[in-house]
Assembly symmetry: C2
Homo-oligomer: 373 residues x 2
């Protein structure tokens, strides 16, 4: 009887590199991390003058895998935006995308092992701020020998991070692109995010952050993700896309109040993918960091941005964005302009809400290409 | 030693009357109720011709207590709208407000006792539709000897009910006022409501609807109400009202991810009041009935409304409404106009979102007074 051949070990493709953060790495609201690291990916080549770097921060949930590369051919979260000849053109530019400090895709966060104990930090992770994410990205650039990036760019949470970057490191970015970000989290966004967090913390499986590896708080995370999905999109888009179509038959479970409409099936499939990909405590830390962000913590915003010495700025926002309103985009642009940056503000009419930057690559790409060009 | 004097028994003031529904009361999606009743309150006097009645349907959560009266001097949910000399003037008009079938403030619903078993219906309550709420209100009017109401009026869920009323009972309403309603629930509103329901049904205390009286699914209901509160208001209002003020000190609990901002404290206090006032199963039934509402179930909407024979209609909506968009208001108005009703459509600029009809009595009152006058 033939014994089965041992299969060649399958390794997931992986293009991540890691930068060690200074030890200790002081956190903005107190405490410090030891032996912390940041995962990042790069595209293109750093030129000899080291002045062609684009530093890309992400929204709350993505990894550093913004686009495919020879080491990792899988599609990235900004696949059609980033590459040779694309809007963020990796022929002339050297692009670095960082996985946020506090996240769970290779960077140190609440799910990482605390070197002092050998066990996961969980809620013993120090308070996380948008400023810490910015500083960690700055250290990645420094580790690559880059003193000043050509452009710092970020959407959503990343749109906050780029402002914190400018505030903390005057002169460290020549240009800045803020996409659907804000000068300070609004009470409406705080309300929505705090409900998402409460869905998780009130799930009995959360166990004050000490959930079992094989039993994370999936119920709370599913609710949080479903609500997130709603706040990332818009009523107009879903009217076009789903209208009142019935749910797929396989989602019409025989249980009380089961999904009946296609839009409910969509929420369910989005949620299922996410709860198996993201760590609950990391989510809680990152979500709260967004609520707490307020550029005024660094001083009067225009003065703060003037000290930053940004030469040019692009601010993009979307009329249908529920979480980061178009009024907030206008305020970011006005502050940058008043601070002396040559600022272009482009409110877009996309109907995909906050997530438009992930979907309407044509419109966003046109603006970004024109700015970077 | 003096014995304490027995206190006079305190009875809550109560202005409710009850109409028995026909037995059996057939439900629109099948099944029937027996010995069912509807709680209602009235203001003003029915005239001899019985042609001065205004039939008022409510949103999802209110009772029939729309305004104070000698029997119940407590403030009602539409206190400043309804009364002698007010926009809905109870000097010439006889106003009847009904507690929706399926609710829990005196009308038969899932929390009521099933006469067949003597125990609460819970999930054995038959499927509830907006049409059933309309029919129950129609039976209240008939029980008062009213064959044709002067005006049928309703906000939110009530805005759906008045359309169902017109569809089911041609000729039974001379005039119609739809406030922040819709011809059919939108996928965006369905998404938000289905997340609220899932918060409740995934609370272990819900127990498939069989929760203990002293242990209802408070965690799920609190989440559902908080999300409801967000969807009922608007980002612009909360920016003005809360900005980034800190939470009141008594809400800054010493627990992980406790509320930090005033807006979180507001959500918490709204939720606490509601979870002790509303029944979870009733909420689930009413919420799903809203998702399922689609006037097209009765035929092509304009044809349906033409058969209804409404002479005049008023449609009011609010630009900042997230749940019932201004586009939906316009669609209601166009259908009524095309159906031959002399229709006035007034989109209002209120910033209080869907709840504006409860708050901006000045603007809403002006429109309603002009229409009824």
């Amino acid at each position: 009887m033939a014994t089965p051949m041992p299969q060649a070990e399958q390794r997931e493709p992986d293009a991540r590199r890691y930068a060690k953060l200074p030890d200790p790495f002081p956190m903005w609201r107190g405490g410090a991390l030891h032996r912390a690291q940041i995962a990042y990916e790069t595209w293109g080549r750093l030129n000899a003058a080291r002045d062609n770097a684009v530093l890309l921060f992400t929204g709350l949930s993505p990894s550093a895998h913004a686009a495919s590369s020879p080491e990792d051919p899988r599609e990235g979260w900004w696949q059609r935006m980033l590459g040779p000849g694309l809007a963020i053109d990796t022929d002339p530019l050297f692009v670095v995308c960082v996985n946020s400090l506090g996240s769970c895709f290779g960077s140190t966060g609440p799910a990482s092992s605390d070197p002092a104990t050998g066990r996961p930090y969980r809620l013993s992770f120090p308070d996380l701020s948008v400023e810490d994410i910015a500083r960690a990205g700055y250290e990645v650039a420094r580790s690559l020998g880059i003193e000043r990036v050509d452009t710092v760019i970020g959407p959503s949470l990343g749109g906050m991070v780029v402002l914190a970057y400018a505030a903390l490191f005057p002169g460290a970015a020549r240009r800045l692109v803020s996409i659907s970000g804000t000068l300070a989290a609004s009470p409406f966004a705080i309300a929505l995010r705090s409900i998402q967090r409460e869905a998780i913390t009130s799930d009995p499986d959360w166990r004050q952050g000490n959930y079992a590896t094989d039993r994370p708080p999936h119920t709370g995370m599913r609710l949080a993700r479903k609500l997130g999905t709603v706040t990332y999109r818009s009523a107009a888009e879903w009217q076009q896309r789903f209208d009142r179509q019935p749910a797929r038959p396989d989602l019409q479970r025989n249980e009380p109040f089961a999904p009946e409409f296609a839009v409910q099936g969509y929420l369910e499939s989005q949620a299922r993918r996410w709860v198996n990909a993201f760590d609950a405590n990391c989510y809680l830390y990152l979500s709260r960091a967004m609520d707490r962000f307020d550029l005024e913590a660094h001083g009067e915003p225009v003065e703060v941005l003037r000290r930053a010495g940004v030469e040019q700025a692009l601010v993009i926002g979307v009329e249908s964005d529920l979480l980061f309103s178009i009024a907030e985009q206008r305020a970011v642009a006005r502050a940058l302009q008043a601070a002396g940056a040559a600022t272009r503000f482009t409110p877009l009419q996309c109907i995909e809400g906050h997530d438009s930057f992930l979907i309407d690559i044509e419109r966003f790409g046109r603006e970004i290409r024109a700015f970077l060009g």
